[in-house]
């Protein structure tokens, strides 16, 4: 249930770390990662299930990019994307899972 989303999040994070460790990130890398994260968060908005922490992470990513710290910025943007995906997964799961909680 929730653990599935958690596993996905953990995998996403570990892959993110592996991908960016080889080369230093550029401003373009950040722009791409940020755009992906924003798109995912917009999808979460479409299912009315955005998390406040996703927006916070996006903000942190932008702040890091503005300071020229593109490695950090990309990591943060990827984390934000993972959070957004987790929130979408939560919404999809809950569409059927909610009935289990109804008082009987």
């Amino acid at each position: 249930m929730y653990t599935r989303a958690l596993i996905r999040l953990a995998i996403g994070l570990s892959l993110a770390g592996f991908a960016t460790s080889a080369l230093a990130a550029s401003a373009d890398d950040f722009k791409a990662a940020y755009a992906k994260a924003e798109a995912a968060n917009k999808q979460a908005g479409a299912v009315k299930n955005q998390w406040t922490t996703t927006a916070d992470e996006l903000k942190k990513a932008k702040t890091a990019a503005d300071a020229g710290k593109f490695d950090d910025a990309v990591k943060l943007a990827q984390h934000a994307e993972a959070l957004a995906h987790a929130s979408i997964a939560q919404a999809k799961e809950q569409e059927s899972a909610w009935t289990q909680a109804v008082v009987r």
Partner: protein
């Protein structure tokens, strides 16, 4: 023999399935199950006391509340609401002209399902509709002006039993069901649903607060919250709850919020309006 057993088991399972299919309930059955749940969990709480939220769950809190109610902090809001009701709009009409019985003693009928527009109309929405149809700008749903109006209207209905109707219209039933779904759906990074706190953990503590039971939870709205040092409408509370579980709140009076208010208000049918309320 084995065949007979297999068939028997299959029949039993076949019959049992619909009983466990939770979504098949009608509002009437939901109502009974909801009420029975709280009755069995809190057998010592008188049915009408559930509308007092955390005070029905904790004796120490109740004593403090009784002391506060000697000089209720929402008095100013009720007074302001009364004045607003008495003040005509620029076109000469008043709030009373938009409501049955001049808006006095009608709060227990809200929200209702408007078959014309096909949506749930809460009291707050009805008040803004009244303003707009009389050439006035609508109020922010989370701010004091709206709270003063609903505080006054709630005050004139104090003690009256909630009387929410679900008309024989599939759209109304759909809105009710959507409200039920919203109530039980987990959201936010903390993965809580309304039910997580107000059904499963009703009467328990969340940090220093005692959690109110979902039964009759909206009967005291709008509330003066000591934590806010001011009044809060239903919209303000729902949106704050979303934020507290790290979910981005929807716009005030979003369809989801109206539907969940419809569902919860129906569940409280027969229980008295206790608003406006004072909460920690």
């Amino acid at each position: 023999m084995l065949r007979k057993i297999i068939v028997a088991v299959a029949i039993v399972v076949g019959i049992a399935q619909p009983l466990l299919a939770d979504n098949a309930g009608s509002p009437e059955t939901d109502f009974k199950m909801f009420r029975d749940y709280f009755k069995s969990r809190f057998p010592k709480v008188p049915m009408n006391d559930f509308v007092n939220g955390p005070y029905s769950m904790d004796e120490g809190l109740r004593k403090q509340w009784k002391a506060i109610e000697e000089f209720p902090p929402y008095e100013f809001a009720v007074e302001q609401g009364k004045q607003m009701f008495a003040t005509p709009f620029k076109n000469g009409k008043t709030y009373g002209d938009c409501f049955a019985n001049k808006g006095i003693g009608v709060r227990q009928n809200y929200p209702y399902f408007d078959t014309k527009s096909g949506q749930v109309i809460t009291l707050d929405v009805a008040l803004n509709q009244c303003r707009e149809s009389n050439g006035e700008k609508p109020f922010d749903y989370s701010k004091d002006d709206m709270a003063s109006l609903t505080a006054y209207m709630a005050f004139t209905s104090r003690g009256k039993p909630m009387d929410i109707k679900i008309p024989n219209d599939p759209r109304a039933l759909d809105a009710y069901k959507k409200g039920e779904q919203y109530f039980y759906t987990r959201r936010g990074q903390l993965n809580f649903s309304c039910a997580s706190c107000h059904v499963q953990s009703a009467g328990d503590h969340i940090r220093t607060e005692v959690l109110a039971p979902a039964l009759g939870i909206l009967n005291a709205m709008p509330i003066y919250r000591s934590a806010w040092g001011g009044m809060g409408t239903t919209s303000r509370r729902l949106r704050t709850c979303n934020e507290q579980v790290r979910g981005v709140p929807l716009p005030a009076e979003d369809e989801n919020y109206r539907d969940v208010e419809y569902y919860l208000s129906y569940m409280a049918n027969g229980l008295p309006v206790s608003g406006p309320g004072a909460r920690p």
